[in-house]
């Protein structure tokens, strides 16, 4: 593993062989490559195995409630635009409990990067079906097999208006790192759904499955065709990996807010109350 200024020597509680180690490595490499000051980086998460990630990075660690990383991250970014804000979590966290926030965060378009560690199963609560679990997979709470259809996060993101949609793989730290770098540079909401095996609870989507069932798209390809992106999102065998869609981000949530209208980046904590405005309204 390459050493970065984001390394943090806390004991890590993931299972040996977990895909999260690789995603953490890609994230640290990306942050380092971008030359970001760790004090200016906030990694926010919800609850789950992947959501423990902020604790394993040397930066501002924000670990909120299950499913709520996106509203939390949105609030942080809009309060201090100079921070680099990353929201990270698993498929259950972001697409299940946080499904509503996922859709609306995309519509809102805050300048944050959303990393979803998608292992198609619940890990922390021990092996139940998640919103991306394949039909038929037997779990402790679906002993006769999952019956609901898996959600397609890429397609959902595209249809909600996301301007950066990518799928990466824990099996390729270098290419995943490259995507994270581009996502952070993207001035607007960026989704990276990252396939990763759960070595303990998912016996279907294993490391072998990941190698066999995915193919990388050409990194240099033009990804600005939305219909092509939608088609790619619906492909399944093999699943395409890479930047599925990228276009101009348009106005961000922050840019649309009154405090930043005049391009004044002063964080909200440094702004005094506008007593004169109150007096004006009382005149």
């Amino acid at each position: 593993m390459i050493k970065t200024e984001f390394d943090y020597t806390e004991e890590i509680s993931w299972c040996p062989g977990c895909g999260d180690y690789k995603i953490l490595e890609s994230l640290k490499m990306a942050l380092s490559e971008l030359g970001l000051d760790p004090k200016e980086v906030v990694v926010a998460s919800g609850i789950g195995q992947a959501a423990k990630m902020p604790h394993y990075l040397k930066c501002n660690c924000v670990n909120g409630l299950h499913g709520r990383a996106l509203p939390l991250a949105t609030g942080i970014k809009a309060s201090n635009r100079s921070l680099t804000v990353i929201a990270v979590g698993g498929d259950g966290d972001m697409y299940g409990e946080g499904g509503n926030h996922f859709i609306h965060a995309i519509r809102r378009n805050p300048d944050i990067t959303n990393i979803v560690c998608n292992n198609m199963v619940y890990g922390l609560t021990k092996g139940q079906g998640s919103p991306t679990t394949e039909i038929g997979m037997k779990t402790p709470t679906q002993p006769f097999g999952v019956t609901s259809k898996p959600l397609n996060p890429l397609l959902l993101a595209l249809s909600s208006g996301a301007t950066f949609v990518a799928r990466a793989s824990a099996a390729d730290t270098e290419r995943t790192k490259n995507i994270i770098v581009k996502a952070i540079k993207h001035k607007g909401y960026a989704l990276i759904d990252i396939f990763q095996p759960c070595v303990t609870f998912n016996k279907i989507n294993t490391w072998q499955w990941l190698m066999k069932s995915t193919k990388w798209l050409d990194e240099e390809r033009d990804a600005s065709d939305k219909f092509e992106a939608m088609r790619l999102s619906m492909e399944s065998s093999p699943y395409p990996l890479g930047i599925i869609y990228r276009t101009e981000p348009g106005r961000t949530f922050e840019e649309n807010q009154a405090p930043y209208e005049t391009n004044d980046d002063t964080p909200l904590y440094a702004r005094a109350p506008s007593l004169e405005s109150v007096r004006k309204l009382l005149a």
Partner: protein
Amino acid sequence: MDMTRAPGSDVAISFCAAAGLGLQTAEDLTRQMLSKAGYYVFSTREYMSRVRGGNNSTQIRVSTQPVRAYVERIDWLFALSPELHSNITENITEETKILADASVMEKEISSLGRKMIDLDLAKRAADLGSPKFSSMIIAGFIAGIFMLKEDSADDLIEKRFSDSDLSEKNKKAFRVGLKLGEEYVEGKPVLKIPDKPGDDEIFLDGNSAVALGSASAGCNYITAYPMSPGTGVFSYFARNAKLFSSVVEQVEDEISAINMVVGAAYAGARAMTTTSGGGFVLMCEGLSLAGITETPVVVHLAQRPGPATGLATRTEQADLELALYAGHGEFPKALYAPVNVESAFKMAGQAFYTAHKYQVQSIILTDQYLLDSGYDIKKPDPSAIPAPISPIKTESGYERYAFPAKGKYVSPFGVPGFGKGFVSFDSHEHTEDAHITEDRSLRKGMVEKRLKKLEAMAEEALPPIVLGPKKYDTAVICWGSVFEPLKEAMEIIGWKKAALVACEQVYPLSDEFCKIISSPCKKIFVEGNATGQFARIVRSLTGEKADELVLKYNGFQFTVEELVRELDKLLEKKS
């Protein structure tokens, strides 16, 4: 028992109409022109949960002395739509002058055994060019019965209608009404103009007061999911986002609303969310998150009757216990209950102050009645609201949850990106530097660290407002918006050795309040709910039981008259 103030000092006007009829213009103009003319004016609304139709009413009380409460008496009724509700029909007496269009209302009014005065509005308005002028004729009529000058509302009309042609037509309609009104009172105004020191006053309702108080405290991040009656404060902020330089976001649900402000406050914003009971319940987990992460957050909880959807546009005070116990686990919070418009401004500021000083959550409990009621108040001073507390510039090695120094209650508050330290935040039980821990002694220490703040918060708790005789044998206790009707009722009763004790802060309780409660006086709690929630909380905190409860829970605020009846009975009984 005389139920109201001296005759000739106070006129109660009610307007009734279906939603969407545009009577708002008449109401606003009446309020503004009478206030400008020098009268004391109070206004309150009650409305059905529908966009058009139904039958809504507004009461405007005009008085020669300060007036701040809702009465059941109706002196003048302007009825534009049939099917008046019982809150109106029950209070029509022989004294009530009913003004309406005979073609619309005659049948209904005569079925009530009452007579009406035909204003012939439809025809008069049509003669002027549009049925929309009815509203202006009514406003003019009211100006007439108060014998105001015919140009007394011209500036207000011009302000309302920027189109000069439309403005002229409305002035004409106003004068048509004015003439009718003058003729009706035969040149004798229904009320003398008092000596009111007018310059320094402004009409404010509860919604504006909460918003302006919050803005004065520096609120610069507000979220909401639309829900009556919590939306008014949010709309006020949305309209004035540029002036306040505030982030204003309507979110996808109340869960997002609270989590977003928690994130914002962690990063240093002064953040608030506004909602009603049903939305507040969805916020409870987020409130608990703010609790364990010691993030200063203000929640405006605008109460309406429940359970569930309840009465969506009505008033109640039944979310006090919900607010007190909101959020799983144990963490301190502060509860404020503004008693009137001035108090709404002040308490909003106080809520921010406490939230930031102690890194806790403040809840402002208002209700539909308070938010939709207004009167002229002395212009509040925004600089009287405590200035925001700035975050510290962190040093390397900063720990967000460091155990406080001796004599202190909180860890220094740092924000990410300001200073040399990392500022972290964890919903788990955590170490001093905000990482997950299951260490038993650390857990115990962190629980105690959070709860210890309550000691200082209690010391700083606002004392109750105490009115009436210095020596009293009965305390009539209320919280929130019951205060003004109760105060007027007590004045009418003549106090009878009873004091009025009103709490603007309902948790933690102040020493002053606890002293009153543990004194040997008789205790009567007056609350807008069905079970006496405040009485129950006070008993659980002090061991002192209420002697009597006066409760109301039909969706309407107490009227002055019903409080006079109830309290007169109870205060008679003791002597």
